[in-house]
């Protein structure tokens, strides 16, 4: 089997997940000559409130330029090889993200639904815990709070 196609990108501003998926599908189609039978995807968006339940003005996403991109590639390759999938798409916001805006998109194409679904889930969990991103919640009063972990499943 050919090496999986990995399309990984940080997004410094708002992005449209459906547009990103369309572009990725075109890449997969061009590379493979067809689209695999199973495609699983996940989009995460900013909640309108903080973890403590207050209105959220924005979420700030800090990253480690260089290491974050490399680690996303590493995690995507690892997840793709573990599950024998054909193609992986990751888009992840950095910077200031407003409520409702997408933060993360993961999509996986494979010949079977099981590997596509499992790879998509595993990669999402991996990047939440193993890719250097840090979130700060900004409230309307201008105060900010760094988060020390992730929203539970």
């Amino acid at each position: 089997m050919a090496a999986p196609l990995l399309a990984i990108q940080l997004e410094p501003g708002p992005f449209q997940p459906l547009l990103a998926m369309e572009q990725w599908q075109a890449q997969v189609q061009e590379r493979m000559g067809h689209l695999p039978a199973a495609e699983s995807s996940f989009v995460g968006r900013v909640r309108p409130h903080t973890g403590a339940g207050e209105p959220l003005a924005a979420l700030e996403l800090e990253h480690y330029p260089g290491m974050t991109e490399a680690q996303l590639h590493h995690l995507a390759a690892e997840a793709a090889n573990r599950r024998a999938v054909a193609a992986v798409l990751v888009r992840h916001r950095v910077g200031r993200v407003r409520p409702g805006e997408p933060i993360v998109l993961v999509a996986v194409a494979a010949d079977r639904r099981g590997p596509a679904q499992r790879c998509c889930q595993e990669l999402l969990e991996a990047l939440k815990h193993e890719a250097p991103f840090w979130k700060r919640e900004w409230r309307a009063d201008g105060s900010g709070l760094w988060l020390a972990g992730n929203t539970p499943l």
Partner: protein, 82 residues
């Protein structure tokens, strides 16, 4: 005795704000480890808790990895991606 490593040290997010700086160039004693550099820089807490991670040259590493001249050493607070 090895020679003195010249390190680039980076802090991120809450660690950066607590320390008040983002990046330092530093000469560390021979045999220095991330744990030793953490204490040398007076970072807090004095004994870093398990949630803080270390990267050397942009790869996760352990607190007792030996550092070499020219290394980029980063201290990473708890990750919250996705």
């Amino acid at each position: 005795m090895g020679h003195t490593p010249e390190l680039r040290v980076l802090l991120f997010a809450a660690l950066r704000e607590r320390a008040g700086w983002q990046e330092r160039l530093l000469a560390a004693p021979a045999g220095a480890t991330p744990a030793a550099v953490w204490r040398q820089l007076g970072l807090e807490p004095n004994e870093p808790d398990a949630s803080i991670r270390v990267a050397i040259n942009q790869q996760f590493a352990s607190w007792d990895s030996p550092l070499r001249a020219g290394d980029e050493l980063a201290f990473l607070p708890p990750i919250s991606g996705g």
